[in-house]
């Protein structure tokens, strides 16, 4: 099973990705999806700008996905991460994990997100509603802690 990794400026469709994963087969019993969306932070934010390291992002996301495939019996794994200017309510990231049973699908999706958060080379900066360019979003210690759960 080869994970599907995509890094793109354009939006994505969860339904299309699930269809691509599961149409025409009947061995999948469980699909877990995670969608990360841009929040407006109570109206103070007009956009998030996502910078990434083009050479490394795909390599690192693939590495994380390969780890997931080695740890869980998956029948499908998708990770899509957007970059560029993303408006509140828009999608930023998608992870899909498919397996025969739910435990593997849940854990693999959860693991993927924890590792994408702490290892995939993307950085968010805020564009504020008052017209100013906000600061770079700071990494959270809780994200590192979350990733530690899997080691």
């Amino acid at each position: 099973m080869t994970p599907l990794i995509r890094i793109q400026r354009e939006d994505f469709s969860l339904q299309d990705e699930i269809d691509a994963l599961s149409t025409g087969r009947a061995d999948i019993g469980a699909v877990v999806s995670f969608t990360g969306l841009c929040r407006d932070e109570a109206g103070t934010l007009t956009a998030l700008e996502l910078e990434h390291y083009p050479g490394m992002a795909e390599v690192e996301m693939s590495r994380v996905a390969t780890e997931a495939v080695e740890r869980w019996p998956l029948m499908g794994l998708v990770a899509i991460h957007r970059y560029g200017l993303i408006r509140p309510g828009e999608q930023i990231v998608l992870v899909l994990a498919a397996s025969a049973h739910r435990r593997a699908a849940f854990e693999a999706a959860d693991f993927m997100m924890d590792y994408l958060k702490t290892r995939a080379p993307f950085w968010k900066r805020e564009h504020r509603a008052d017209g100013t360019l906000g600061g770079w979003v700071e990494a959270k210690a809780e994200d590192d802690d979350a990733a530690q759960r899997w080691s």
Partner: protein, 97 residues
């Protein structure tokens, strides 16, 4: 260490250095190719060498522990050997996802 010093005499080697997010902003450029001394052994050695290059670098690496590095697209710790890496990246902790 004495052998490293001996090698240094042998000169420099060119590497591409790329910067992201606020590291990029503080350094003032997204990337550059630099001839670095061949005796720089680790990521931390390179950081110290860069800091001596000017205020922007000094500001970018003000808190060395925060800045992350990658050698040829692979995360690397400060004590990691530079080896023959051709592209070295510096960036803040990731905030994607």
């Amino acid at each position: 260490m004495s052998s490293a010093v001996a090698t240094a005499a042998a000169g420099t080697r060119p590497v591409r250095i790329v910067y992201f997010a606020w590291v990029r902003e503080r350094v003032g450029l997204p990337e550059e190719t630099l001839d670095i001394p061949a005796d720089l052994a680790t990521v931390a050695d390179l950081v110290r060498w860069l800091k001596a290059r000017g205020e922007g670098y000094e500001a970018a690496f003000e808190n060395e522990k925060i800045v992350r590095a990658a050698l040829d697209h692979v995360h690397a710790k400060p004590q990691a050997a530079l080896g023959t890496a051709r592209e070295i990246a510096f960036f803040p902790p990731m905030t994607g996802g």
